[in-house]
C-alpha cells in the first residue's frame, strides 16, 4: 500500500504545483522524480527507461528547425506580407491572419506562431482604431484549433503520436477534416458575435490613409531585423523534407522523432548558424517537463494506479463504444481547459490503452477523441494551453489587458462548439466503421 501511496501523493502535489503555477513546471516534475528516486520508489535507471525519448526527439528536432527559421526572418516577412494583403480590412485581418496562424500552428509550433502574429495584429488593429482584444483572442484560439490537425501541431498530439505509434498521415487524414470545419465555424462565430468590429473601411478615406501609414510603420518595425535569405531557403528546404518524411513514414520506416531530430541536426550543419544561439532558443524547461512527467506517470503505471483508475472510473461506464468515445472526448476537453493538457494527456494514454484492451474500438477513434479533447479543450481558459498564456502575456506588454473571464467568455463557447462538432464527427465516424 505504501508503495502506491507515495507516488500518488507526489504526483498529486506536482499536479497542484503545475496547475496553480506555484513553481516552474520542469522544477515541479523533477522535484517529484527526485523524491521518488530518493525514497527508492523507483531507481534512477528505471526512471530513465520510463522517458519516452521518441517524443523528446520530435520536440527537440522541431524546436531546432523553428529556431533557425525564426532567426532567418521568415516569420516576420510572412506576417508583414499578410498585413499588406489585408489592406486594413478588418474581416481580411481576421481571416488571413487566422489562416496563417492555423497553418503555422499545424506545421510548426503554436507558441512561436502567436509570439510572431500577436504583436503585428495588435499594431494593425490599434492603428485602425479597433479593439485588439477580439483579434488577440481569435489568434490564440485558432492556434490551438490549427495545432489539432497534425501530429506535430500540439504537444498532446506529439505525445499520443509518439507513445501510440500513430503516423503523421493518420493524424492529418483523421483530424484534418473536422479541424477545417471547426476552424470555419469558429471564425464565423467570432465574426457574427463582433460584427461591429468588422465593418469595412473602404468608404473612409481617413482610415484607408491611416492604414497605409500603419503598413509603413509595420514594415519598418518588423523588417528591421536582419533577413538572412540563405538560411531562410535552407530552413524552408529542410522543413519541406521533414514534412515529406513524416508523410512517407510508412514507406521509409523512420519514426517522426528520428526524422525531426535528424533534420534539425542536418540543418544546423548546413546552415552554419551559431549553435549557441540556436540552443538558447530551445525550450529546455519544456523538454525537462515532458521527461519528468513521463517518469511520474510511468511509476504510477508500474504500481497499478493507472489500471485502477481505468477500471474504476472509465470502464465503469460499460462497453458502449459511443459512450466511451464521448467520455474520453469531453473528459479530455473539460479537464484540458482547467489543467495543463500535457500531463493530462500523458496520464490518459495508459488509461485509454487499458480501455482499448477491454473494449477494442476500431480506427483509433479513442485516440482521436483524446487528441481532439485535449487540444480543443485548451481553449476554455487562459491556462488551458501554452499559446493562450503566451498570447495574453504579449498583449499585456503592448497595453492590451485580457482578463481570465474575458478570455473564458469567448473561449468557453468556442470550445463547446468545437467539442460538439468533434462529437458529431466521431459519432458519425463510429457509426460508419461499426
Amino acid at each position: 500500500m505504501d508503495s502506491i501511496l507515495i507516488p500518488v501523493i507526489v504526483f498529486l502535489l506536482v499536479y497542484v504545483a503545475i496547475t496553480f503555477e506555484l513553481v516552474n513546471k520542469a522544477v515541479a516534475t523533477f522535484s517529484g522524480v527526485a523524491i521518488l528516486v530518493m525514497l527508492h520508489v523507483v531507481s534512477e535507471h528505471q526512471a530513465i527507461e520510463l522517458i519516452d525519448f521518441e517524443t523528446i526527439m520530435l520536440l527537440f528536432g522541431m524546436m531546432v528547425i523553428v529556431s533557425i527559421l525564426k532567426h532567418s526572418g521568415l516569420f516576420s516577412i510572412v506576417s508583414v506580407k499578410i498585413a499588406e494583403l489585408t489592406n486594413g480590412s478588418p474581416v481580411k485581418i481576421l481571416v488571413l491572419f487566422s489562416v496563417v496562424t492555423a497553418l503555422m500552428s499545424a506545421f510548426l509550433d503554436n507558441v512561436t506562431t502567436v509570439l510572431i502574429i500577436i504583436p503585428i495584429i495588435i499594431e494593425l488593429t490599434r492603428g485602425l482604431g479597433l479593439d485588439p482584444k477580439k483579434y488577440v483572442l481569435s489568434q490564440a484560439i485558432i492556434s490551438n484549433i490549427g495545432g489539432t490537425a497534425t501530429l506535430i501541431g500540439d504537444p498532446p498530439n506529439v505525445i499520443i503520436g509518439s507513445k501510440v505509434g500513430l503516423t503523421f498521415n493518420q493524424f492529418i487524414l483523421n483530424l484534418g477534416p473536422i479541424v477545417i470545419i471547426i476552424f470555419c465555424v469558429s471564425l464565423f462565430f467570432i465574426w457574427i458575435t463582433n460584427r461591429d468590429q468588422f465593418t469595412s473601411i473602404k468608404g473612409n478615406l481617413v482610415k484607408i490613409f491611416s492604414v497605409q501609414l500603419l503598413l509603413e510603420k509595420i514594415r519598418y518595425e518588423f523588417l528591421s531585423i536582419e533577413i538572412n535569405r540563405r538560411i531562410m531557403i535552407k530552413g524552408l528546404v529542410f522543413l519541406v523534407i521533414t514534412i515529406l518524411l513524416f508523410v512517407t513514414q510508412t514507406i521509409t520506416g523512420l519514426s517522426p522523432g528520428v526524422v525531426a531530430l535528424s533534420m534539425g541536426v542536418f540543418l544546423l550543419l548546413v546552415s552554419r548558424v551559431d549553435i549557441e544561439h540556436v540552443l538558447e532558443e530551445i525550450e529546455w524547461s519544456t523538454l525537462m517537463f515532458f521527461a519528468g512527467l513521463f517518469i511520474l506517470v510511468g511509476v504510477l503505471e508500474e504500481k497499478g494506479v493507472i489500471e485502477w483508475i481505468a477500471h474504476h472510473i472509465f470502464l465503469n461506464v460499460g462497453d458502449n463504444p459511443y459512450v466511451a468515445v464521448l467520455l474520453i472526448l469531453w473528459t479530455a476537453g473539460i479537464m484540458s481547459g482547467f489543467l495543463d493538457n500535457i500531463p493530462f494527456t500523458i496520464t490518459m494514454i495508459p488509461i485509454v490503452q487499458i480501455m482499448l484492451e477491454n473494449n477494442p474500438i476500431p480506427n483509433n477513434l479513442l485516440w482521436w477523441a483524446l487528441a481532439l479533447g485535449a487540444c480543443l479543450g485548451g481553449n476554455i481558459t487562459i491556462i488551458g494551453a501554452s499559446a493562450n498564456i503566451v498570447s495574453v502575456g504579449i498583449s499585456k506588454k503592448y497595453g492590451v489587458n485580457i482578463s481570465f473571464i474575458e478570455f473564458m467568455k469567448t473561449g468557453m463557447i468556442i470550445s463547446f462548439i468545437s467539442l460538439t462538432l468533434a462529437s458529431l464527427y466521431l459519432m458519425g465516424y463510429l457509426w460508419i466503421v461499426l
Binding site: R126, L128, N204, L205, F209, S210, L213, E216, K217, Y220
Partner: protein, 295 residues
Amino acid sequence: MTDTQKSMDKLFIDLVKVYSSSKTSIIALQAIIDALDHLECSYDELKDQVRILSDQIKNTQPRMFPLDNLMILFDKESGSHFQSRDIDSTKNGLKTIFKSYLDRLNDDLVKLTHQGLKFVEDGDLIVIHSIEENVELLIPEAKKQGKIFKVLILKQDFETTGHVIKILDKHEIDFQVIPEYDLVHYFEQVDKLFIGAQALTLDNKLICDPGTSNIVSECHLNNIPVYLFLKSLKLSHFPASEQNIKKYETKEHHGGIEYKEIFYSNDIVELKLVDHIIMENGETNIDKVHDFAIH
C-alpha cells in the same frame, strides 16, 4: 480629439522617430494617393472625405511639416477638380496634385543636398543627433563624392539613434556614438553641428527633435558653428505656440515612490543660435528666411 485623429498623430510621431519629416511627408503623400485609389464612395461623399482628411492632417499634434504646408496648398488647388461630377476623373485630378507635390518634395531634397555638400569639408568631425535630411541624404552623398570626414552621433532614444547608425553604417561612414551629455569632452575636436528641423515658425523658432535645444545652446556657447538644413516647405505660417507640440504625462515608479513625469514631443530652438541657414537656393540669413515661405 477624435480616436482617428489620435491614431494619426501617433502614427506620425512614430514615423518621425525613424524617418526625417520630409521622408515621412513623402510616405504620407503616397499614402493619400493609394487611399484615393482604394476609396469607395459616391461623388457627393468624396469632397467631404477629402476635406476631413485634409483637416486631420493639418491638425496633427505636432504639426507635420512639410505636409501641413502642402495640404494648405492642396485646399487652394483642389477646388477646380470638384466641378466635373465624375468621381474617377475627380480622383485622378486629386492624385495628379499629390503626385506633383511628391515631385516637388523630391526635387527640393536634391537641391538642398546639393547646397549642403559645400559645407562638408575634408577632415571634418561633424556632430549629429537626430534623423533629418542631412543624415538621410547629405552625409551619405558627401561620402559618395569621396569627402573624408567623421561623424559624432549624440545618442538619443534607442530607435532614433539605432536608425542613424544603420544609415551611416550602410554608407560606410566613419562614426562614433557618445551620450549627449558627454559632448563637453569633444569640443576641442568637433568642427560643426548639423541639424535639421521639422518646422521654422513665424516667430523664428525651430521645431526639432527632443534634446536639440541643449545641443545647439552648448555648441553656440563653445563657438562650434551650427548648420541648419531647411526646406522652404518647412516654413510655418504659425508661431511656436500654435505648432501643437504634444505634452505627455506618465506615471512612473521608483523605489516605491509614484511620481508624474512630463515630456514633450518636440524641442524648440531659437533660430538666432544657428550660424548657417542652408535652403534649396543656398545659404540665407535670419532676416530673409521667411521670404521663401509658400503663400
